[in-house]
Amino acid sequence: MSAGAVGRAHPRLEGPEKVTGTARYAVEYPLEDVTYGWAVPAAAVRGRITRIDPDPALAVPGVLAVLHHGNAPRLSPDVEPELYLLQDPAVHYRGQLVALVVAESIEAAREGARQVRIDYDTEPHSTVLTADHPGLYRPEKVNPSYPTDTSEGDFDAAFDAAEVRVDATYRTPAYHNNPMEPHATTAQWRDGRLLVHDSNQGSTAVQAALAELFGIPRDSVRVISEHVGGGFGSKGYPKAAVVLASLAARQVDRPVRLALTRQQLFGPIGYRTPTIQRVRLGSDADGRIAAICHDAISQTSTITEFAEQTAVYTRSMYAAPHRRTTHRLVRLDVPTPFWMRAPGECPGAYALESAMDELASACGIDPIELRVRNEPTVDPDQGHPFSSRNLVACLIRGARRFGWGDRDPRPGARREGRWLVGTGVAGASYPARARASAATATALPDGGYLVRINATDIGTGARTALWQIAADALDVPPERVTIRIGDSDLPPAGVAGGSMGTASWSWALTRACQELRDRLGHHSGSLPPEGLTVAASTADEIRAQKPMARYAYGAHFVEVRVDAETGEVRVSRMLGVFAVGRVVNPTTARSQLIGGMTMGISMALHEEGLLDERYGDWVNHDFATYHIAGCADVEQIEAEWVAEEDSDLNPTGVKGLGEIGIVGSAAAIANAVRHATGVRVRDLPIRLEKLAGSSSFT
């Protein structure tokens, strides 16, 4: 039945357009009469705007309008507090976008934005997350809808009774999503209809939000997102840029282009919350864990609640009869945190997979063996069977490929010239989920096929993977298939997020294609000029899925060199082995996996939002000061996968692999650094002074 496109490496369909610069991004569509927006950030942390004086800005030649809460078109207050922009004078964090200048040129808009005079009534603020913050509270649930706390057995008693105990607190800083394409929109109103070209991870949701905000029917809004230059979660839900541009376009009655600046991506679009995580593990001398507890603290804003599910990772990862997880939050005068690649799992795995390494050292057993010994047979959280669980297969294969077997476990034992060399390992898991989507498939009279779904390709290669899947489902060579995505006029689909994109979209596409083949089987004579179209939706099928623990797994192997005197860390080798179900396109799959791993290097060694509590914002907010791993930081990196057939997922058998690459990777690096130096760094990033300044460091 299969034409065999799935599983074959294929370059991105839109690759030539992208490398030749003809692929259009949100603010690159040529447009008559277009104007430019520039957002104005608040200079106060907490308080109210008492006065806005737009006159100096309006005096800048070319400036057309200054929008602010006193004059902007009204929005519905019921959609989402984050999107209720320019509606009231409250300031919730420094950098909040409180006005927008629209001008004939981008230069005039920028200068105008600098000239808007704003007075504030300010109040004292609190912007630093601490473990004893008086505002700590227990949220009702954590993202997206997990219980806040869980408990099984008697953790306290079992931990007290354990022969070997690890009790450690890990901290991660604020991390900032920094897609190459900023949050950017071109908005235009025509006869009461709103058309936006927007950079997002799912335009069905953007369409819905805009319709509600402006009080117009959904089909009066069209959102086109043909090419998206990355999102890393930050574009997973409509954000400020698209709302501001739409407001402005209405106000000036002309098309408006708005791209947030790099600096404005540090805050208003969300970021990964800092975390403070205490992990306790109690085991017998052989490393069999009896008690496991993960207490996570993170922050949210005063605008809305965002509860990162940091400790959820620990609920299902390793076996232990006595277990507890908790989440606490503080509302600070900061921008609202948001999704960033593997929210929850990523920071949570750093803590748990580091603690596992500490336990392995404490028990004197190999960290891979420790994980094998604590492999659960059913999901320790819900008791459901696993649809497939190949963590151990990843660990074993990785150990062989990496040469783990020869490892001398003593820390600080290997020195090569100025370098201390060490290796580390960590496990990883990420949920394999799917969301309801709709798709259509059309057979055309010329023998071609057209498949349509409002999927979004944020640079991952999703378009290409779906095209391969559709070809197989139609049982035709892929060259005969045309795919259309990235437009809210297409059948609605979920976001490119939660590693659910390919699973969700391919499911609907496959059903539409199968149905079309059936129909064609019964069709006689030639096709009508418009072809034969069938539509499919997966809502019912997904609702009827039986409860199971569905996860992708992975294992990271890292070798680091640490300069014995300066403390500089270099990752000399990194290998990830993953169990991600079926791999549709090895080329783009590998990119996703090594991309996630590279982001893990960045998280472990480089990235850190440095907050200045006096000003209440991050002082490093560009690429020169907020470091992201560069090519020279990635010396040798490889991703592989184990063969995995899982029939309890979705028709294609994919688990999604956009996020698993980052999960656990920072722990593997921290574990390798500890092996190299003897120093355990429990607060990321691993800066050189944390190693060079340590007393046990030689």
Binding site: E565, G567, R614, Y615, V619, T625, A629, D633, E689
Partner: protein, 329 residues
């Protein structure tokens, strides 16, 4: 938009006259620093005088030895120059350790020396900074100051000079050739940059409007054995957390001559004269190098977040000198 005028003279006198006539004018070279700061609103010149058409290119060997480097020579061109690579490895390495290939292709010699500090607060017009806005205060003094000075700072400013090239030139005793309305003069490189004192907005000893036309590097045969070690937070494309430029001339085991300069520790490229004095005339050992660094760093006053720089600079001093000493054996 905020309008500014743009001129591209071909004559040095004309350029100097243009600057002299307009207190808000600035020279534009590669633009890799100035244009960024203009976009951020940190610098707001109303006239840009482009120096790229001035006859200030070229790297010439001098008759008495040494090199004369034109002000508009690009950092990449200078790093690749065969004489630089052979006679002044410290210079080539400092240049190549800086920025990225793209930035180095634009950045000029003079622009590099006059680039502004990377202090976070200087670059953000929403924050107090005496250097940007005299009298407004120094947010970095008690703020995020891990990258900033350990030596010679003042309550008014704790910034560091970010250039790598400048550290090498300080070690090499370069001379800066300057054109001013009154004529031309030579400025010893180590006197080009100022301590912050009460006026961090004054970064150099040049008068306003002075044009750097060239940098002369004197002959220094010992510099064939020279090194630049830069410690940074990622493997490339990062400013120094600390750096050391070193030239070591041994007579047998005895230090005949030594040049040592530190980067990312002070408001100016830091020539380590005290350390040099400790070393000169003594038999070289790594321990001696350590003592020399200690002598230099005795004056260090670390800030809240940068105490690690003291042992770091010490360690890198020892490494640089020891490697040079060993490479000779």
């Amino acid at each position: 938009m905020r309008e500014f005028r743009y001129r591209r003279p071909t004559d040095v006198d004309e350029a100097v006259a243009l600057l002299d006539a307009d207190p808000d004018a600035a020279y534009l070279a590669g633009g890799t620093n100035l244009v960024d700061l203009m976009k951020l609103g940190v610098q707001r010149p109303d006239l840009l005088v482009d120096v790229n058409r001035l006859p200030l290119g070229g790297v010439e060997p001098l008759p008495e030895g040494g090199l004369r480097v034109g002000a508009t020579v690009r950092n990449s061109e200078l790093a690749a120059h065969p004489v630089v690579r052979r006679d002044y490895p410290v210079l080539a390495r400092a240049l190549l350790a800086a920025a990225s290939g793209q930035v180095r292709n634009m950045a000029t010699t003079a622009g590099n020396l006059l680039q502004r500090t990377r202090c976070f607060y200087f670059q953000d017009t929403g924050k107090a900074c005496n250097k940007r806005d005299p009298g407004s205060g120094c947010a970095a003094r008690h703020g995020q100051n891990r990258e900033l000075a350990i030596l010679d700072w003042s309550e008014e400013c704790v910034a560091t000079h970010p250039s790598d090239l400048a550290v090498a030139l300080a070690a090499l005793d370069a001379v800066v050739e300057v054109a001013e309305p009154e004529g031309t003069r030579d400025v010893p490189f180590v006197e080009l940059h100022r301590s912050p004192g009460e006026h961090p907005e004054r970064e150099t000893t040049l008068r306003r409007g002075a044009l750097i036309t060239a940098v002369r590097i004197p002959p220094l045969p010992a510099a064939r054995r020279s090194a630049y070690l830069k410690v940074r937070d990622r493997a490339s494309f990062a400013f120094a957390v600390g750096s050391v430029a070193a030239v070591l001339d041994l007579d047998g085991d005895v230090v005949r001559d030594v040049r040592l300069a530190y980067g990312a520790v002070a408001h100016r490229p830091w020539r380590a004269y005290r350390a040099e004095a400790e070393l000169r005339g003594r038999p070289f050992t790594p321990e001696l190098a350590g003592q020399a660094a200690d002598a230099e760093l005795a004056a260090a006053r670390p800030l809240r977040h940068n105490g690690f720089k003291v042992p770091l600079i010490r360690a890198v001093t020892v490494r640089a000198l020891t490697e040079l000493a060993e490479s000779r054996r």
